[in-house]
């Protein structure tokens, strides 16, 4: 591990001022905020991340989970994944989020990992994690050996000729389906970013994964007020039953009235270079009767634009079955 200076800023303003001196935005930067450490310390041991300064934000008052006056939920940046998953309001009104978190990682990691850290979780692509290999995300311009190499677990949505790495998060898939908002405080003030706009596609700049600029601190995430009677489900398919990243997952939020789907939100995990919302599936569901044919049509629509890699064509059918099964389970909930 490279040497670094460990700093504990006394407040958010000091944290932002210290991080604003960084050359790039947060991920891969020379100055890094540290939350739970579950991604960052792992990657620092591998010399994939080599910050000169580490800013410990765990003691900042950013860990609260509060119901807002409008009935929505305000989730502090350093709230632990387990505290969020077991929160009574999340379990009753945003169950897809609780399910997604509890199917991710292990109990120990969920006790450590923060909400903001999960938003910035980095890919598990083996080439990214190995400094002996080329990787456009880690070292821009060196190439992407995954495209012609081991890519079974990598993306079928949102890839570019420079990067096909999958976003590994479960929590983010639920936040995409719940239409969360990410709140950021930076050197120029505060701003709110719709969840779908927070992560960016790799394109020509796979080293850039979010809209964060140097000094930007995620302070909290908000969820809109719950929709009465909405039916929710998170289904995760993986190589083993627990403690494994998704090959395909689906977060579903449905509203059903008179046997018809009046509102649908569908997001997919394990298949995209960012948390993958599917407006195609949502359109195929809205206004339709609740039955198997509708579910299958939505799954077909969702995977229409998928582009498989050399080793993961199976993900297309897997994702379709994942969506169909998740819709069936949600509708019956």
């Amino acid at each position: 591990m490279h040497t670094f200076e460990f700093i504990r800023p006394p407040d958010s303003a000091a944290a932002i001022a210290a991080a604003a001196k960084s050359k790039t935005a947060q991920q891969g930067a020379d100055i890094r905020f540290m939350g739970g450490g579950t991604t960052l310390i792992d990657l620092m041991k591998l010399n994939v991340e080599t910050p000169d300064r580490v800013l410990d934000i765990n003691r900042l008052p950013l860990d609260k989970i509060e119901v807002m006056p409008d009935g929505g939920l305000k989730i502090g940046a350093t709230a632990r994944n387990s505290d969020l998953a077991y929160h009574a309001k999340v379990q009753s009104d945003y169950s897809v989020l609780s399910q997604a978190i509890l199917q991710g990682a292990s109990a120990q990691i969920r006790n450590m990992a923060t909400v903001a850290g999960n938003l910035l979780q980095r890919t598990r692509c083996v080439y990214f994690r190995d400094t002996a290999m080329a990787c456009n995300k880690r070292e821009p311009g060196t190439g992407c050996p995954a495209i012609t190499g081991h890519n079974r677990t990598l993306a079928i949505f949102g890839a570019s000729e420079h990067c096909i790495a999958t976003n590994p998060s479960d929590m983010c898939i639920a936040l995409a389906a719940l239409e969360a908002t990410v709140h950021i405080q930076g050197p120029k003030g505060t701003r709110a970013v719709a969840f779908g706009d927070f992560h960016v596609l790799p394109g020509n700049t796979p080293q850039r994964e979010t809209v964060l600029e140097p000094g930007d601190l995620i302070t909290h995430v908000t969820l809109p007020p719950p929709i009465a009677g909405s039916k929710q489900h998170y289904l995760k398919l993986r190589d083993r039953a627990s403690y494994e990243f998704a090959l395909a997952s689906a977060a579903i939020v449905l509203t059903i009235a008179g046997g018809k789907i009046t509102r649908a939100r569908v997001a997919l995990g394990g298949v995209g270079t960012k948390p993958w919302r599917s407006p195609e599936a949502e359109a195929a569901l809205t206004g339709k009767s609740v039955n198997e044919a509708t579910f299958r049509q939505a799954a077909e629509a969702a995977l229409q634009g998928a582009k498989p890699q050399s080793e993961n064509r199976f993900k297309i059918e897997l994702a379709k079955r994942c969506i169909t099964h998740a819709l069936r389970t949600a509708a019956a909930a």
Partner: protein, 207 residues
């Protein structure tokens, strides 16, 4: 015959006079012998460039330390404080062997920096019980034969004790799911689940 000291580390140290001495001592911390019985004072420890002072509270005892900022909580516990019950398995958060409690919650000590933990209450397997007065979970692991080689055991037990206070369904499947972060390469899983269920059932009987 006198009472045998079963500690593996004591065995390794006392066999230092044998032919294997050179090999074994290379794998022990240079100060292990002195530190385990009489903790070394800061003055006698070699200076570390860029070291930062910190007080860590482990098993109810404060330790004043000077550590390199890169030191993980795991390495600090094992190499600096010389509490070697906590094990280093993968060192990347994939095996659970390094599980300890921080303020009563189970965490992976390999994915935390020691400097993040001043003021926190850290508990390791040494703080849970002793061979003479075992924690009920330690006793259950012995009763149920919940191990073979024993390397993952302290992590399994720390995880299992924390699980008692977490939302966990009554059936074995729920226990397995919440214990999935602790890998046992000997495959003692069935007995580990049995040990945990034995403690859960006896606790609920008393309640």
């Amino acid at each position: 015959m006198a009472e045998v000291d079963r500690s593996r580390r004591t065995f390794l140290k006392t066999s230092g006079t044998t032919a294997a001495a050179g090999v074994i001592s290379a794998y022990l911390p240079a100060h292990a012998t002195a530190a385990e019985s009489t903790p070394e004072s800061e003055a006698t420890r070699p200076a570390i460039e860029g070291a930062v002072p910190i007080t860590l509270r482990i098993n109810g005892k404060d330790h004043k330390l000077n550590i390199d900022p890169r030191t993980t909580l795991l390495d600090c516990i094992r190499e600096t404080v010389v509490l070697t019950g906590t094990k280093k398995g993968c060192d990347h958060g994939q095996c659970g062997a390094c599980t300890v409690h921080v303020n009563g919650k189970r965490v992976l000590s390999c994915l935390n920096l020691a400097l993040m933990h001043d003021g926190n209450e850290i508990t390791t397997i040494e703080g849970l019980g002793t061979p003479e007065a075992m924690h009920p979970m330690q006793k259950a692991f012995v009763d149920c034969d919940g191990y073979q080689c024993g390397y993952c055991t302290s992590g399994q037990i720390m995880s299992a004790v924390a699980l008692l206070k977490e939302p966990c369904g009554p059936d074995d499947a729920a226990v397995k799911e919440l214990m999935s972060g602790n890998i046992c390469r000997c495959g003692a899983y069935a007995n580990i689940v049995q040990a945990i269920q034995q403690v859960r059932n006896s606790t609920s009987d008393r309640a």
